[in-house]
Amino acid sequence: MPAANSNSPLPGAAPAVGVKVEGLAKRFGTFEVLRGVSFTVQPGEIFVLMGPSGSGKSVLLKHLVGLERPSAGRTLVAGHDGADPATRERVRMALVFQAGALFNSLSVYDNLALYPREHRLGDEAAIRDRVMRALQILSLENAVHKLPAELSGGMKKRVAIARALVMEPQLLLYDEPTSELDPVMSATITEIIATLRQRYQVTSIVVSHDRDLALSIADRVGILMGGELVFLGPPSDLRQPTDPRVADFLNPRIDLEHPRFKHLET
């Protein structure tokens, strides 16, 4: 089995790609989820997109892989329109879903082997090597024959990352990778994201609420509120935010005298 701890890109991996989001707007009926969001992600960069629940982070991520179509504006992945299904053939993109989205009827091994089998990327021995290497990187060798239902929350997230890794992606998207995990497991997943970028130079876009993740591994951070990008810059700028909305989001004060939920819009 090939060494899993080499610092070279995965065999067959193509160079990392850049991402450009131009005036992206999305409307569901009369509800505006995204309102003209624009930013650029450089190849090999870790870009963390933060924001309160319902601010449109996951919807934005789905636009990049063509799971949603924009109401206005566009997304460009390596210069190709993200809404065009052909982009998925030109650029290898992998999305790590919030709940894993593992195929429940397949074992961990078959979950990982599905992509290379369907795209006929070698014989069964080559596929086995590829799958085992990904499992080894995420320290999941012992889970190879388990079904997703038999895995803990943290393991499911790691299997989902391993499944994305098998695709040898040029762009790796994470949707809330540390949600519903204990602090230690959150730190583990954060380390995995940073390690994968360091070893394989893959462009990573991480949608997260996790302030520690953003401050520790992001090259740049974007904060989305009410469908608009209210902050874009390096994580160091977040330590003393000037925008009160950003400051409140990052360091919410618990005020039992004037509880926040009583002022929330319905």
Partner: protein, 276 residues
């Protein structure tokens, strides 16, 4: 194919404003029927586009043949036996005084082959297999497994729909012939052992052969293929268009089975008329 194309509503799928205004004139139930018909036919076309990939999906095809055909056989057998039996019983009872009970073999034979064999096989397919397909695909959609396939550039039509379509087209004739045969034998047993009928199996089957030919069986097989294809397509389409949570999965299963049953009976009339 994007998720939105699987699930978009007619008005929201980029239709021009003129078309959208025209569609707004139509009553909502009619719009839903048109949308359902259109998306189901589109799913068929998209699935057929992947036909060349079928040989390398042989494993999935066999698995679906097992689920659609083999596991449905016992219930088709039991129901067909009693349908043939009750046909013989009713016609024997009604014909006792009129004097046509010697035609019971032909009556049971033709009714099973041309009508009840394919219809009962399709009804059981909808209840047993259609509901399972709708539940599985709806659950895969709700829990983002279908989205995961799309991000992996694996078209859901190729992996989830095409093997099921091929399997139902292969197994429906088997189920229908089995329903016909078991129904005929059910009728023969009742005809022999019911005191007011008392027709020997030899004369029952002689009468059946006298008034039937292969065309009658073929007629039923054509109907069965149409019903089977419709049930699987409708259930796949409804499953893949599910949005929401567990309650919507349940609602999709109900809608898939009810739509399938209605379509079986509506199509039965038109296909029967077309084959006459």
């Amino acid at each position: 194919m994007s998720t939105s194309s699987l699930s978009s509503s007619p008005a929201a799928s980029g239709t021009s404003s003129v078309t959208a205004r025209l569609l707004a004139w139509l009553p909502n139930p009619l719009l839903q029927v048109l949308h359902g018909t259109g998306s189901t036919l589109l799913l068929l076309v998209r699935s057929l586009r992947h036909l060349p990939s079928l040989p390398r999906q042989f494993g999935r095809f066999i698995e679906q043949c097992h689920l659609i055909g083999y596991t449905t056989m016992p219930i088709v057998g039991i129901l067909s036996f009693f349908i043939g039996s009750v046909l013989a019983l009713q016609s024997g009872h009604a014909g006792e005084n009129v004097g046509y009970k010697q035609f019971i073999g032909a009556l049971v034979g033709l009714t099973m082959a041309r009508e009840l064999g394919p219809v009962m096989a399709a009804v059981l397919l909808a209840g047993r297999v259609g509901s399972a397909i709708a539940a599985e695909l709806a659950s895969m959609k709700v829990y983002q497994e279908v989205d995961a396939l799309e991000t992996m550039n694996i078209p859901p039509e190729r992996m989830l729909v095409l093997p099921r379509l091929a399997a139902v087209l292969t197994m429906m004739p088997v189920l229908t012939i089995m329903a016909d045969l078991v129904g005929w034998f059910g009728g023969a047993i009742v005809a022999q052992y019911t005191h007011f009928i008392s027709i020997e199996p030899a004369s029952y089957f002689a009468n059946l052969r006298q008034y039937m030919d292969f065309g009658d069986v073929l007629n039923g097989l054509i109907k069965a293929e149409v019903f089977g294809l419709t049930v699987v397509l409708v259930c796949c389409n409804i499953g893949l268009n599910t949005r929401g949570g567990p309650r919507e999965i349940g609602a999709s299963v109900t809608r898939a089975v009810v739509t399938s049953l209605i379509l079986i009976l509506v199509l039965d009339f038109f296909v029967t008329k077309a084959l006459m």
